[in-house]
């Protein structure tokens, strides 16, 4: 079954219709590219100061009240949306695989952005950036983007978000919205990458995916656990007590993500991989106020 079929495209269209303002001004409750200047839409007044362009003086106010006030206009600018997609092998875990949902989410977000005439780039990464869909604009590019996403495969070794972000931010590009779609199982910790994005003035939003077996594993007995990213193994005897500890640790990990988001104003969406992508997008839009 193809990942992006006609039904998927219909859902994308629907989502784009209901989320006209998603990135423009209120995505994740963040004002994005507000600049006053040469736009056509009036914004407000300010006191005239020396050196200001006389053309922007509001002569009507001066005639009525004798005050020199400068008219300000909202300058409209296209948004740069960077979608960072985790393609590490851990994303192949789950039922259905987290990687499928991640690509569907990236496709949906890209479609909505392209429909709003924003610029979208997709960066696939694992331990490093492994593939790139450069900044593009226009809805007609969506098919190329979907084809790019379909061509991606899980690969690489252990996820290294810090290394990926470092390479990403060193690129000569405008700042914009950085959406990281990943399970965030980074042995070095996701914080390094997130911090770097914030320091580089990227608006950060994280979509964290996990499987039910990752949250509540049903393993018991004598086992050799194999990390599918690093191929590292560990012989363990899993007991109910160990399972209890695991669940506690996983919940702590999820809670640390939420704390990080609250602390640094990072948008965060946590979901299980069995959730349909359109529901998840709608949920994100509801959270951002893009839809009622």
């Amino acid at each position: 079954m193809p990942l992006f079929d006609t039904e998927f495209l219909k859902k994308l269209e629907y989502l784009s219709l209901v989320s006209r303002r998603m990135f423009r001004g209120s995505l994740l409750a963040q004002r994005r590219t507000m600049q006053t200047g040469g736009g056509i839409e009036f914004a407000d007044h300010r006191e005239y100061s020396h050196g200001d362009d006389f053309r922007h003086l509001d002569w009507n106010v001066f005639a009525r009240h004798g005050q020199l006030l400068l008219k300000r206009f909202q300058e409209e600018e296209d948004l740069h949306v960077y979608l960072l997609l985790d393609c590490s092998r851990s994303m192949a875990f789950g039922s259905p695989p987290k990687f499928d949902l991640a690509r569907q989410i990236v496709a949906a977000l890209a479609y909505i952005a392209l429909a709003d005439l924003d610029r979208v780039a997709v960066i696939a990464f694992a331990d490093d950036i492994i593939a790139d869909f450069p900044l593009t604009r226009g809805k007609d590019r969506i098919l190329s983007l979907l084809k790019f996403l379909e061509g991606l495969e899980v690969q690489g070794e252990a996820t290294d978000l810090g290394r990926v972000v470092k390479a990403f931010t060193q690129r000569p590009q405008r700042h914009g919205l950085a959406v990281v779609v990943s399970d965030l199982f980074d042995p070095q910790g996701y914080e390094r990458g997130f911090d770097l994005l914030r320091y580089r003035n990227y608006e950060l939003h994280a979509v964290q995916l996990h499987d039910r077996q990752e949250a509540e594993p049903s393993l018991l007995g004598e086992l050799e656990l194999v990390d599918i990213e690093s191929d590292g193994g560990q012989q363990v005897t899993i007991t109910e007590n160990a399972l209890k500890k695991y669940r506690t640790l996983f919940e702590d990990f999820q809670e640390s993500l939420r704390k990080y988001g609250r602390k640094y104003g990072v948008g965060l969406t946590q979901t299980r991989c069995e959730v349909p992508f359109d529901e998840l997008i709608l949920k994100m839009m509801r959270a951002s106020g893009a839809v009622g």
């Binding site: 086992l223 050799e224 194999v226 695991y246 996983f250």
Partner: protein, 703 residues
């Protein structure tokens, strides 16, 4: 150690699949996970594994291998050599005699003995065999040798209390025979649970008195059953205290020798205690007080007294003491007093004052005097028709003399018909011959030279100095049924009896008018004996039996009693059959015991069927005090009643010396294996091992 089932070791092959499957099981399963971060955090926090944790798999495998080894070894049923050497064959003797009913040991001595017996059974070692013998009355094996504890326990539970005398010595002899004389490797033991005092020969003092009615018992070689016997261990546990008891040790009745309606009671009360006892003895006849005697008995005193009473109606005599003591069964005693029946006597004579008065003086006799010309022999018609009516002859032949006697007794004085009547006939001083004898010349002064002292007719009668002039010589037509009781010097019969089917004849050839026999005291006694002989002692007392006794009864007499009360269409019209004549001990009857099964009914209502031989029937041993009944199965008709009393001084003496009670410790013994076979303990260890393994591994004590 040896194995009873070495082939079971083949089950050790089960070790192979167990080990293989276990190794396959403990091979680690590789499970891919998306990240191992969290698992590492869990297990890296834990302390380094102990030696138990590192060895856990091998310890588990070892436990399972040991488990299989234990189970297979248990299947092989191992046993030690000493087990066979110390194998015991035990005979457990439980004394359930009357004295064991004493309540000085709560709830009773027998209950305590049964509890001890159960403890002995529980203390049996594996492979021990035990048999159970009761010693109350005739020793009885209630359970043969068995190792099955449940069977033995049930046998002990089924041992019931009896009123029988103790027969521990015979029981020990029986146990010796059960154990055999074989000196093999088995240990032979006899465990006696009794209240018999140490070294006391508890032989029933009344045994000699009733030896004829008791079951034959071989005399024991030793009166003390605890004599040492190589290879045989006798252990005794005695139950009881030194509690005293007062009991009726003798209660018998007999007919008065001088009063036909009178009877005499002999009562003996024994104070088997160490203190002075005051009590009251009451004698009842059919629940009506006959006599009351206050008693004051010194320690060990035996008080006895005879009472003379009169009663024609008869009934149940009961003596009872008003003292509640440790043994209740000897506080009451019973006797059966049969009803005296009126006896019709037809005196055919031309006149003899002595003869008439001797019958008139008997209150049981209804005398009818008839002159010879007006008398017609009652049985002559039957006799005359014998040749033509075979059925009537057969009927009369089958009927016993007792039945014929119900029509009364015919006394023929001088006048003798040619054919003697049927039934009971007394012929005195015959003057003419008949079909039974030919009369000869008179004997002038015969002297009784020879007298049958064993004949009931001559009981308490001596004729050797009686003058009997003009006695007649008699020549009997046939010797069949003829018994001469007294002869003259010349050998002529003076007194004889003739017993033929349907006929009993007593012949006295003495001329009463000439001799001095009517003036002698022997004459009324002779006539009384003659009447009793004719009626076969009906109404005579049957003595009270001691418990454990066996007696015999005449089944034919019982049958005749039943027939006697049935109207017989074949009976001659001139024979009165509506008279009720009962044998000794019979209170009343209306049934037909000859056609019905007989049953013996115990005082507590227990019924047991009796075999019905043609002649005599043995009853007993009677194991309960009270009045026993023989009944016809149909209609519950009582045919015979028998009184049974403890009447045993030894049983009434329930005291157990303190020294005996103190030295009789528990006889329970156990082996070091707890009386369990080796396989039991192997299974127990396997079970324990399995539990520990489950607790340690399934409960994750070892991780």
């Amino acid at each position: 150690m040896s194995l009873a089932s070495p082939l079971a070791l083949l089950w050790l092959a089960a070790l192979i699949p167990v080990v293989v499957f276990y190794i396959l099981k403990i091979r680690l399963r590789r499970v891919p996970v998306s990240t191992i971060l969290f698992w590492r955090q869990i297990y890296d926090e834990q302390q380094p594994r102990s030696i138990w944790q590192r060895m856990r798999h091998w310890l588990s495998l070892l436990a399972q291998v040991v488990l299989i080894l234990l189970l297979v070894l248990a299947l092989a049923d191992p046993f030690f050599a000493w087990e066979t050497r110390q194998l015991r064959r035990i005979v457990l003797i439980v004394d359930n005699s009357a004295s064991m009913n004493a309540t000085d040991v709560s709830p009773s001595r027998l209950a305590a003995a049964k509890d001890e017996a159960l403890r002995v059974i529980r203390g049996m070692r594996f492979r021990d065999e035990l048999a159970i013998v009761t010693a109350g009355g005739s020793p009885r094996v209630v359970c043969g040798f068995s190792s099955h504890s449940r069977t033995l326990s049930h046998a002990i539970d089924d041992v019931v209390a009896t009123d029988n005398p103790t027969r521990v010595i015979e029981a020990v002899e029986l146990a010796r025979r059960l154990l055999g004389e074989r000196q093999d490797e088995h240990q032979r033991e006899i465990v006696v649970l009794t209240d018999t005092a140490k070294g006391q020969a508890r032989q029933n003092s009344n045994l000699a008195d009733h030896s004829a009615e008791r079951a034959p018992a071989s005399p024991p070689p030793n009166l003390n059953f605890e004599v040492p016997d190589p290879g045989l261990q006798i252990r005794t546990r005695r139950f009881g205290t030194n509690a005293g008891n007062v009991g009726i040790t003798q209660f018998q009745t007999r007919r008065s020798l001088i009063d036909p309606l009178g009877y005499e009671i002999l009562v003996e009360v024994t104070n088997a205690s160490d203190e002075l006892v005051e009590c009251r003895l009451e004698i009842d006849l059919n629940d009506e007080v006959v006599d009351v005697v206050p008693l004051k008995l010194t320690p060990g005193q035996r008080w006895s007294q005879s009472f003379e009473k009169t009663s024609a109606d008869g009934g149940h005599l009961m003596a009872k003491l008003d003292r509640a003591d440790t043994l209740a069964v000897d506080n009451r005693a019973w006797a059966v007093l049969p009803q005296r029946e009126m006896l019709p006597v037809t005196l055919v004579t031309e006149g003899n004052l002595f003869l008439q008065k001797v019958f008139e003086s008997n209150p049981l006799v209804t005398l009818t005097r008839i002159d010879p010309p007006g008398w017609k022999p009652p049985g002559s018609r039957i006799r005359q028709n014998a040749g033509t009516e075979n059925s009537n002859v057969a009927f009369n032949s089958a009927r016993s003399l007792a039945t014929a006697a119900t029509s009364g007794i015919t006394v023929l004085h001088r006048h003798v018909p040619e054919v003697l009547p049927s039934g009971a006939v007394l012929v005195i001083d015959p003057r003419n011959s008949c079909e039974a004898w030919q009369l000869g010349e008179p004997i002038q002064n015969p002297i009784v030279h020879q007298q049958d002292k064993d004949s009931p007719v001559l009981g308490h009668v001596r004729l050797d100095n009686v003058v009997m002039p003009e006695a007649r010589q008699v020549t009997f037509a046939s010797d069949e049924g003829v018994k001469v009781l007294a002869r003259s010097v010349a050998g002529d019969p003076l007194l004889a009896t003739i017993e033929r089917p349907g006929q009993k004849v007593l012949l006295l050839t003495v001329n009463l008018d000439e001799g001095d026999l009517p003036l002698r005291t022997a004459f009324p006694i002779l006539m009384m004996n003659a009447l009793n002989w004719c009626t076969e002692n009906r109404g005579e007392l049957r003595e009270s039996l001691p418990t454990g006794a066996i007696t015999e009864i005449d089944v034919a007499a019982l049958r005749s009693v039943g027939q006697a009360f049935q109207p017989d269409p074949n009976a001659p019209s001139d024979v009165e059959l509506n008279q009720t004549t009962r044998p000794a001990g019979v209170a009343g009857t209306t049934g037909q015991p000859g056609k019905a099964d007989l049953r013996l009914v115990a005082p507590d209502g227990r019924r047991s069927a009796l075999p019905t031989p043609s002649e005599r029937l043995s009853l007993g041993p009677f194991d309960q005090c009270g009045v026993w009944r023989v009944v016809a199965d149909e209609g519950d008709t009582t045919l015979l009643e028998l009184a049974c009393n403890l009447a045993d001084r030894n049983e009434s003496d329930v005291r157990v010396p303190k020294s005996d009670a103190a030295t009789s410790a528990s006889v329970v013994s156990t082996g070091w294996l707890g009386n369990r076979p080796v396989w039991f303990w192997l299974i127990a260890v396997a079970w324990l091992l399995m539990a520990v393994e489950w607790w340690a591994y399934q409960r994750r004590v070892i991780e």
